[in-house]
């Protein structure tokens, strides 16, 4: 039994909300009335109460947007008992009530964006998505409006390991208020480096912007990604690496993937573009490799990686060296850190 603001809105416009549920159920008979009622009672009701406390005048708008959105997400198995993304439900129960003041201003957009973000982040594992959710709970009180909240979420997504978003997230980051510029990078407001120094640190993808980059550096194995598809990875055969216009591309016999990597994570993204033209297959980096020994040098640094001896292919950008081995389904990344 639901009482309170949600119940009042539903009762006021009963026929319309019933028709919407009927339309959704006509499309998907799996949508059980009992499950939806439970969702209304356990998730939407507390959320609407929180919204009513933030701004009672917006309750009709909030209910209409969230009711439709929850039907849509349930239809796609992203909410409710059969959800493939339990973290979305968790966000509706924990994060959204905490940001009720932002939610009431643009409920469909805020709740939809949070749900979509968790949907995508969880594709690379629940860990990154959970990290993003925790970060958004921390950043939310600092965000004065939904636009800034969502912009902070984009930066947080990059820092939770989505390296493919690095460039565009940094563009978003530059438009944030000063305090959030620091907070989204894990720094306290008013402490640490100047904005100019921060920009300098961010120029190196392997530099943690929260730490001083003048410490002594070395070459290190920074990431291992890919793996055999049979064990949940992406490659059917041991991949090979090539460079194309400043990007690193891993390829097996069936498909190609772009490699994105930085201090916060490394990801592969399917690429349907043309194969590299072969003019610069080893890329533009100044890494030196002694193939038989696994010795790798860059600038004045040199490290021997025994496990990487005898690579089947390698290519580099100015910051990252990618290698593959003849008997491994992984791609190995080496960088100066």
């Amino acid at each position: 039994m639901i009482e309170g603001p949600l119940a009042e809105v539903l009762a006021r416009d009963r026929d319309r909300y019933n028709a919407r549920f009927a339309a959704a159920r006509a499309a998907d008979r799996r949508l059980a009335p009992e499950a939806f009622l439970r969702f209304l009672a356990e998730t939407l009701d507390p959320l609407v109460r929180a919204a009513a406390r933030a701004d009672p005048s917006r309750i009709d708008v909030v209910v209409e947007a969230l009711y439709d959105l929850s039907l849509k997400l349930m239809d796609k198995d992203c909410l409710g008992p059969s959800s493939r993304r339990p973290l979305i439900g968790e966000a509706w129960q924990k994060l959204l009530p905490r940001i009720a003041g932002l939610l009431v201003r643009d409920p469909g957009r805020v709740a939809g964006a949070v749900s979509n973000a968790l949907f995508h982040l969880a594709e690379d594992g629940e860990t990154a998505a959970a990290r993003w959710l925790a970060e958004m709970e921390r950043l939310a009180p600092l965000c004065p409006d939904p636009d800034i909240f969502l912009a902070a979420g984009q930066v947080a997504a990059w820092r939770s390991g989505q390296a493919q978003y690095r460039e565009s997230a940094l563009t978003v980051w530059r438009g944030l208020p000063d305090d959030l510029k620091y907070e989204t990078l894990g720094l306290r407001t008013g402490s640490g480096p100047s904005p100019a120094e921060l920009e300098q640190r961010l120029a190196d993808p392997w530099q943690d912007p929260a730490r001083d980059g003048r410490a002594e550096k070395t070459l290190a194995l920074t990431a291992r990604l890919g793996g055999f598809r049979g064990f949940g990875g992406v490659f059917l055969q041991p991949p090979r690496i090539a460079s194309s216009n400043g990007s690193l591309i891993a390829r097996d016999d069936r498909a190609a993937w772009l490699i994105f990597a930085d201090r916060f994570g490394a990801t592969l993204r399917r690429w349907d573009g043309q194969p590299p033209d072969g003019q610069d297959p080893e890329g533009e980096g100044d890494f030196k490799i002694e193939k038989h020994s696994g010795r790798i040098a860059k600038g004045g640094l040199e490290v021997r990686f025994e496990a990487l001896a005898g690579p089947s292919s390698f290519a580099s950008t100015t910051s990252t060296l990618a290698l593959t081995l003849p008997l491994s389904h992984y791609v190995f990344l080496v960088a100066e850190v």
Binding site: D75, C78, R109, F119, Q154, A169
Partner: protein, 524 residues
């Protein structure tokens, strides 16, 4: 099972966008809770949104399982049925139902669309859906629909002077008019327009044609709008005869299809669930005013390649020429005959030496007006844009022309062409007739090899470089070339419709060069 609120996922037409190596963090907020993306400076592709609207309508709102606007990227499989050899083709590229497609294109280009068909075929529903896609609420739309009826007055249509101001007014400026709200809307719906009395039709004509309403010397400027008119009778008959000027303002005509009884179960499901599609239009396919304006601009930005433009010119040139109409070349048009109060068919027998079944101009009682051509170009561009193309393809022209020329190219049903048994059906099926005309025109164009050998195009290209500084000797040479071409044509070929504009063009060029030469000699 139909999901009444489900919008097709993008891309609805895969392969229409170039692949990119860049990843935008804005994509983070696009996903299953669609419509929730963050605001970015990057405008969303509106052609994709319009296609999503199309698929939502055909899949859920209007049961229209038809693909009469056929596209093929490979030769389609085809099957022939019955004694009349009815051909059924299975299109190999994304194809569309004209009944949904044309109203949507009309929404994009903000022109005037007539929906025709018997009662209960969803004409008003589709017009209402267009208004909902333009962002109006169902309540607003229902209030704004103008229902044609025999007692409809100009005041019903446009508004009323406020009685208090009417009494106290010292002059017309003091009269206040309560304009009807629909005049200010960006989607205008006139239901059963052929039931409106003639006098009120004239008031409607002013609004449709000139985009303003006038009453008591007061003017109401209407915004750019997409118009939807409905009529049960395709011929424009009804309670009142539709005035010709009003019919002429209609840009595109589309007919409602019958209900395919194999889809009765879909109807049953709707009745059982109590669903009315117009009440559940998904927010993500609703266009803002700014988006509608952008759509219109984007459509006009679609390119029309020269070779395709040339084929449209060639097609259009068949119809106006009418040899028996006059003694002088310039007046040899069907318009001359009409202005004289004579029916072109009565003089058509005087045309001799040409095969009347092959002469395309013999099938029509008129030529194409400038307005008709302009309208055709806009909708052709809209079709290409809807398909995600930067340039028009010939098939876009072929598919769109029949709907634009439906009422604009007046058929002569007594023409010898229609007496052939295989062509009889084209008397009633005007869409196929216009398409057939275009196909025949293209065949003739190919036969004459005009893509490769078009002397008029060469003369045009030369002339467009300008006359300034041109030597008298060069001008004389060009004049000789024009005269030789005309002499060549006069020798062996009959005077066909498509030659008429070419001959007139050569006469024009000859006159321009002659005048220039005269001036050149005088100044020398």
């Amino acid at each position: 099972m139909v999901d009444f609120k489900k919008v097709s996922e993008a891309p609805t037409r895969p392969g229409t966008r170039p692949e990119s190596k860049t990843f935008d963090v804005a994509d983070l907020y696009r996903g299953p809770a669609d419509g929730a993306e963050t605001r970015t400076d990057r405008p969303s592709p509106l052609d994709e949104k319009l296609r999503q609207a199309y698929y939502w309508i055909v899949n859920t709102a209007i049961i229209s399982p038809y693909y009469d606007v056929e596209y093929n990227d490979q030769p389609p499989a085809s099957y022939t049925f019955g004694d009349r050899k009815v051909t059924v083709r299975l299109p190999t590229d994304q194809s569309y139902s004209s009944y949904v497609l044309l109203p949507l294109l009309n929404l994009a280009v903000r022109r005037r669309c007539l929906l025709v068909g018997g009662p209960g075929r969803g004409k008003t529903v589709i017009a209402v859906l267009m208004a909902l896609l333009a962002g109006y609420s169902l309540k607003e739309v229902k209030r704004s629909v103008q229902h044609g009826q025999p007692q409809m007055t100009i005041a019903d249509l446009l508004g009323n002077p406020l009685p208090s101001t009417l009494v106290s007014a010292a002059d017309m400026d003091d009269v206040k008019i309560a304009w009807r709200k629909w005049l200010g809307m960006r989607v205008k719906i006139i239901d059963e327009y052929n039931r409106i009395p003639t006098r009120t039709q004239s008031a409607l004509l002013t609004v449709m044609a000139d985009n303003y309403a006038e009453m008591y010397d007061h003017i109401f400027e209407c915004p750019e709008a997409s118009w939807y008119l409905t009529a049960n009778d395709e011929a424009g008959g009804g309670t009142y005869q539709v005035i010709e000027a009003l019919r002429d303002r209609i840009d595109v005509v589309v007919g409602a299809f019958h209900f395919n009884t194999r889809f009765l179960n879909d109807l049953l499901l709707r009745i059982e669930a109590g669903i009315r599609p117009e009440e559940i239009v998904p927010a993500e396919i609703v266009f803002t005013e700014a988006e509608q304006e952008r759509m219109s601009r984007e459509v006009l930005g679609v390119g029309l390649p020269g070779p395709i433009r040339r084929r449209i010119e060639f097609f259009s040139s068949h119809f106006e020429f009418f040899e028996p109409a006059a003694a002088q070349l310039e007046y040899m048009t069907k318009d001359t005959v009409k202005l004289a109060g004579v029916d072109p068919p009565t003089l058509a027998v005087q045309e001799s030496g040409k095969d009347p079944t092959r002469e395309l101009g013999r099938q029509t009682n008129n030529g194409l007006s400038v307005r008709a051509l302009m309208t055709a170009l806009v909708y052709i561009k809209a079709m290409a844009w809807f398909r995600g193309r930067a340039e028009v393809e010939l098939e876009d022209v072929r598919q769109i022309l029949p709907f634009v020329l439906h009422d604009k190219l007046v058929q002569d049903p007594e023409a010898p062409f229609f007496e052939r048994p295989e062509n009889e059906a084209l008397r009633t099926d005007r869409v196929s007739w216009v398409r057939r005309l275009f196909d025949e025109s293209n065949r003739e164009y190919d036969r004459l090899d005009l893509d490769k050998d078009d002397p008029v195009a060469r003369f045009e290209a030369e002339f467009e470089k300008g006359l300034e500084g041109l030597a008298a000797r060069e001008v004389e040479a060009r004049l000789v070339k024009i005269e030789r071409t005309l002499a060549e044509w006069a020798k062996g070929r009959k005077f066909h419709g498509h030659m008429y504009d070419d001959v007139l063009k050569l006469k024009y060029l000859h006159q321009r060069y002659s005048n220039y030469l005269r001036w050149k000699r005088w100044t020398a």
